[in-house]
Structures are given as structure tokens and as C-alpha cells.
């Protein structure tokens, strides 16, 4: 019998979540599978293509309900993407589903040439992304996918933070005229508060308003940024803005620039290597716009991760309420010292 994975949230973080009135949601992956089943029932052109991944993709119910709308290609990710492109070219609305680690590395050339360069409106779905597979190790981690796909023209890269964003992103992908990459983890998540608008394609979602520190996060890290914001306000009197910047490409430039203009410091948070992902996308934008806000990128540093569950790995690299609160306090203090305040 294996021990249960340590909780993603410390007792203090759980208390903070309770104080914010956050309700426990479900894994984004389940919401993806449920939404795509709903779409498949409405639209017979919707197809799911899997590489022996229907179980891990929570797509067994889809296969049972709509057996003619699921295409299995076996353990062959390059083939998965090539076939998805062909089906898309023939007018099908394809969701090609495979673990993010394999989908965006093994099949990268197919993504580039067959889908993006050839411009077929296929949705690639990277499941169990980031360090979702935890102690299974770095073969199974996708900490490169945002960087790799950001460097490829003509594909939206979307990392939903909660069930609301997941559902919105899947519905938007079904309507998209061009390629989309959706990235999902499998941890049960809190549903995040919304200051209006819900999921809007290519637009940051504001989770909390504030003027001292701006957290720009996405995916399964966004909740930790939100908890840190609440913690910093309660313990240090810092008011923090939190953006769920689910779409890494194209970036919501206006939301990022506004955050840097309104706040004294900017911290990005992502379940990705610190190279090439959300943080560097924001850094590049801010640098070129002339913004000079104190800035930190929180993610996985340039190393193969420590062994552990997703929760262990998050905590180890400071992706937690406590870790992000410390990073923010340090950044604000350093900025104050430098400016002589």
C-alpha cells in the first residue's frame, strides 16, 4: 500500500483558503473530459484521438458513449499528431490527447510542420502536465512545453488554472480557426474567485486586485499565488494583484503592462522551467516596453527536479503560499532598499 501523497496545502494555507471561501473543485483533466464529451454529443465532427492515453485522459466515458468519435493510434505520439492533422484537414474538430511530456517533445516536429505551419485547426491536449507525475521522474515531466511551443508560430498556448478556465478553454478551442495547445494537470484544485468575465480567450483573468505586488501565474500554481496574496495582506499589509494568465501565447500584453505600472513589484509563477515560459514571456515584454518594476520568475530552476510528489516539488521550489509570500516580501524589501525608502 502506498502512502497518500502529502497535501498540496499546509494547514495554514488550508485555513487561508477557507477564509477566502474557496470551494474545492475537481481535477482540470476531468472537466476537460466532461466538456469534450458534451461537445462530442452536440457535434458529430468532434473527434478525440489518443495514444493509449484514454485512461489517463479520463476519456473512457467518451469512448463508451461515442465509440465512433474516438481514434486510438497506440503508443505512437508522432503518428498521433500527424493523423490529427489529417483528420483536421478533412474537416474534423480534433482533440489529440497525450501526456504533455511526450506530446510536446516526441512529436514536436509534427506539431510544427503538420499542425502549425500547415495551419489546421487541431487542438492538442497535453495531459498530466508539468510535474503532475511527480516521483515518476523527469522523463514524465513537461517543463519544456511552453518554451518549445512559444517558439513555434501559429499556435495558442493555454494553461487553465481551474475548472472554470478549463471549460472555457475547451469550448473556445472547439471554435478556434487555428491550432491550440491546452495543458492540464490532474490534481484536485480549488475553484478560484472571479472578479468578472470568467474565461476570455487570450485575456488574463483577474483573481484579486492590489497595488503593491502583482502575481502573474497560470495553471496549478495560480491558487498558490492567490493564497500568498491573501497571506501577505493579512500579515504584512501588502495589497497584491493576482492574474491568472492562462494564455502564454499570444500574451495579454495590456494586462501585464498594467500590472507592472500599477504595482511596485511583479512575480511570475509557473509549473515550468524558468527558461522560456510565462516568466520570460512577461520579462521580454516588460523589458522592451521600458517597464522597470522589480521582477522575479518563480518556477523550476535549470535542473532535473528533486524526487517527490507534485506537492513536494512545488514546496521545494517555493511554489506554495509560504514560499511565494517569502519571495514577495524579499522582493519588496530589496526594491525599497534600492530606492532608498
Amino acid at each position: 500500500m502506498s502512502a497518500p501523497a502529502p497535501s498540496m496545502y499546509s494547514p495554514a494555507a488550508q485555513q487561508r483558503a477557507a477564509a477566502l471561501g474557496l470551494r474545492t473543485g475537481r481535477p482540470n483533466l476531468e472537466v476537460f473530459a466532461e466538456t469534450v464529451l458534451e461537445l462530442g454529443r452536440q457535434d458529430s465532427q468532434v473527434l478525440v484521438v489518443t495514444s493509449d492515453s484514454r485512461g489517463s485522459g479520463k476519456l473512457v466515458p467518451f469512448g463508451q458513449a461515442l465509440p465512433k468519435q474516438i481514434v486510438e493510434v497506440g503508443i505512437a505520439e508522432q503518428n498521433l499528431v500527424g493523423i490529427a492533422a489529417g483528420l483536421g484537414a478533412a474537416g474534423k474538430r480534433v482533440f489529440a490527447v497525450s501526456p504533455a511530456c511526450f506530446l510536446t517533445a516526441r512529436s514536436l516536429e509534427q506539431i510544427k510542420a503538420d499542425i502549425a505551419y500547415s495551419d489546421h485547426p487541431v487542438t492538442l491536449v497535453g495531459i498530466s502536465a508539468g510535474v503532475s507525475y511527480g516521483a515518476l521522474g523527469s522523463t514524465h515531466h513537461s517543463l519544456h512545453d511552453l518554451a518549445a511551443l512559444r517558439a513555434i508560430n501559429n499556435i495558442d498556448v493555454v494553461v487553465p488554472a481551474d475548472n472554470t478556465e478549463t471549460r472555457g478553454a475547451v469550448l473556445a478551442a472547439h471554435e478556434a480557426a487555428h491550432p491550440v495547445y491546452l495543458r492540464f494537470g490532474k490534481a484536485p484544485l480549488y475553484d478560484l474567485p472571479d472578479l468578472g468575465g470568467g474565461f476570455q480567450p487570450r485575456r488574463a483573468r483577474v483573481l484579486r486586485e492590489g497595488r503593491d505586488v502583482a502575481f502573474i501565474a497560470n495553471g496549478e500554481t495560480a491558487i498558490h499565488a492567490l493564497l500568498a496574496a491573501a497571506e501577505l495582506e493579512a500579515t504584512a499589509g501588502l495589497s497584491c494583484r493576482v492574474l491568472s494568465l492562462h494564455t502564454v501565447r499570444p500574451l495579454d500584453d495590456e494586462a501585464v503592462l498594467r500590472a507592472a505600472a500599477d504595482c511596485r513589484a511583479v512575480i511570475t509563477v509557473e509549473e515550468h522551467m524558468v527558461h522560456g515560459g510565462l516568466g520570460e514571456a512577461c520579462a521580454g515584454l516588460l523589458m522592451q516596453s521600458g517597464a522597470r518594476a522589480p521582477f522575479r520568475i518563480v518556477g523550476i530552476p535549470d535542473e532535473y527536479t528533486v524526487t517527490g510528489s507534485q506537492a513536494d516539488i512545488f514546496r521545494h521550489y517555493g511554489i506554495s503560499m509560504e514560499g511565494l509570500s517569502r519571495t514577495a516580501a524579499d522582493l519588496v524589501a530589496t526594491a525599497a532598499t534600492r530606492s532608498g525608502q
Binding site: N79, I83, A85, G86, A89, G91, A113, D114
Partner: protein
């Protein structure tokens, strides 16, 4: 084709010449695609997996009326949409190719969609024999037989040469016929310069439930004596004297054919 390669100063001469008869048969006898039919989801499809031999495709598409032949003078020129590998910016091209080992999977997707929608369209792709060393082809080959895609035809331009030399010396992927049979395909072995044999191989009804591979035995550099079966013409561009000699040989062969026909 030689004229546009000469004009561009770039191109895949050897493989283009080995594939030209195959393309001519497909576009004139088999596919029944025209500029007007490109919007029809029921059209037959051709995808050139060996994308580097794009010049052969361009000249055949031009002759089928997809664009004026004169436009090919812009091949590989600044801002031309006639790129050195196929792109969908060119009318008639179904898929951007050039990286090898992509066309067959894409065609499995097309053929599967045709089966799902029961529209009867057939799907053809041209592979190089050297290209078949790419493992993704064999992933696609397995899937094609698994889904019984008898509307799919893979054509191998079996000229036995790749850029480095003989395919069997570089990294042998022979015997291709036995490999495809083992992967659940029907194999048709033909002279890739025999127009009647190619036509029959493409049009004869397939064995129900089996995808078809047509192994077209060809000669790289076909039709120009000093280019035939010489690996360096893979992407060699003739100089002025070679170009004149090549045209002379081709014109003589054409005249001979016309005489025979008369």
C-alpha cells in the same frame, strides 16, 4: 522542371526526374482534381511526403491549370510563395511537407476521415525510399492496416539512392515489399516509368481492407544520361553546358516518342 531549377539555381533534380512520371499519371489519369475541385471535401488527395522534390509537383500543378507556368520563375526568389518545399500557399498543395516521415501519418488521418464520412475519396502519398528509414512511417503503416484503410495508397519512389549514396549502403531498409506485407499492406511492384503499369497500379481496385503500397522502381535523374542513377544529382543544379545537353537529350526522346505515336 529543369528550366525552373536552372532558373532558380536550386532544386532537387535527381528525385524530381525519378518522380515525374508518377506525378504525371496521378494528376492526368487518377486523381481527377482541378482548381475547382479543391473546395470539395470529397476530392481525392495527393500529399507529397518527399517534399524536397517539389519542382516536379509544381510543374504538374501548373500544367493542370492551378497557376501559370510563368509564375514558377519566382521559385525560391525573395517573397515568392513558391518555396523550396510544398506549402499550402501554392494552389493545389494539400499539406506543407519537407521534413521527412510526415506525409503518411497525415494521409492516414485523411483516409480515416473519408471512411468515417463514407465519401469514397482516395488518398495518395509519395514517399522516398530513403525516407522510409524514418520510424514515423512505420507507426503510420501499422495504423493504416489496423483501420483497414483500403482507400490509402502509398507510393514509394524506389530509386535506391539518397543524398549520401545507395540506400542499401547508407542504412538498408530493404526488403520494402516484405516489410509492408508484414505491416498488413497489399504490395504492387511496378516499373515507375511505365505509365500504363503505374495507371493500373493506382486504379486497379484494392484488396478490400488492405492499404496499398505501390513500389515504383525508378531511376534517379531519369531521362538525362549523365544524371541517371548518380547520387550527386540529388540536389545538383546543371551548369550551362549540362543544361543544354540535358535539354537536347530530352527533346530527342520526345521527338522519338512523337514519331512512335505517329
Amino acid at each position: 522542371m529543369l528550366r525552373i531549377i536552372k532558373h532558380a539555381g536550386a532544386g532537387h533534380t535527381g528525385g524530381g526526374l525519378s518522380a515525374l512520371d508518377i506525378l504525371a499519371v496521378l494528376y492526368n489519369r487518377v486523381l481527377d482534381v482541378t482548381p475547382a475541385s479543391m473546395g470539395d471535401v470529397r476530392r481525392n488527395r495527393y500529399v507529397q511526403s518527399k517534399g524536397h522534390c517539389v519542382e516536379a509537383l509544381y510543374v504538374v500543378l501548373a500544367e493542370r491549370g492551378f497557376f501559370p507556368v510563368a509564375e514558377l520563375d519566382t521559385l525560391c526568389q525573395y517573397q515568392s510563395h513558391f518555396v523550396g518545399h510544398p506549402t499550402r500557399k501554392v494552389p493545389g498543395v494539400e499539406q506543407n511537407t519537407g521534413a521527412l516521415g510526415h506525409g503518411l501519418s497525415f494521409c492516414v488521418g485523411l483516409a480515416l476521415a473519408s471512411k468515417m464520412d463514407d465519401i469514397g475519396s482516395r488518398v495518395f502519398t509519395l514517399l522516398g525510399d530513403g525516407e522510409l528509414t524514418e520510424g514515423s512511417n512505420w507507426e503510420a503503416a501499422m495504423t493504416a492496416s489496423h483501420y483497414k484503410l483500403d482507400n490509402l495508397v502509398a507510393i514509394v519512389d524506389h530509386n535506391t539512392l539518397q543524398i549520401t549514396g545507395r540506400t542499401r549502403d547508407v542504412c538498408s531498409n530493404e526488403p520494402l515489399d516484405e516489410k509492408f506485407r508484414a505491416f498488413g499492406w497489399q504490395v504492387r511492384d511496378v516499373d515507375g516509368h511505365d505509365l500504363a503499369a503505374l495507371t493500373a497500379a493506382f486504379l486497379d481496385p484494392p484488396t478490400p481492407g488492405l492499404p496499398t503500397v505501390v513500389i515504383a522502381n525508378t531511376t534517379k535523374g531519369r531521362g538525362v544520361s549523365f544524371m541517371e542513377d548518380v547520387a550527386k544529382w540529388h540536389h545538383g543544379v546543371p551548369d550551362d553546358a549540362q543544361y543544354a545537353k540535358a535539354l537536347e537529350e530530352i527533346d530527342a526522346a520526345l521527338a522519338g516518342l512523337q514519331e512512335t505515336a505517329a
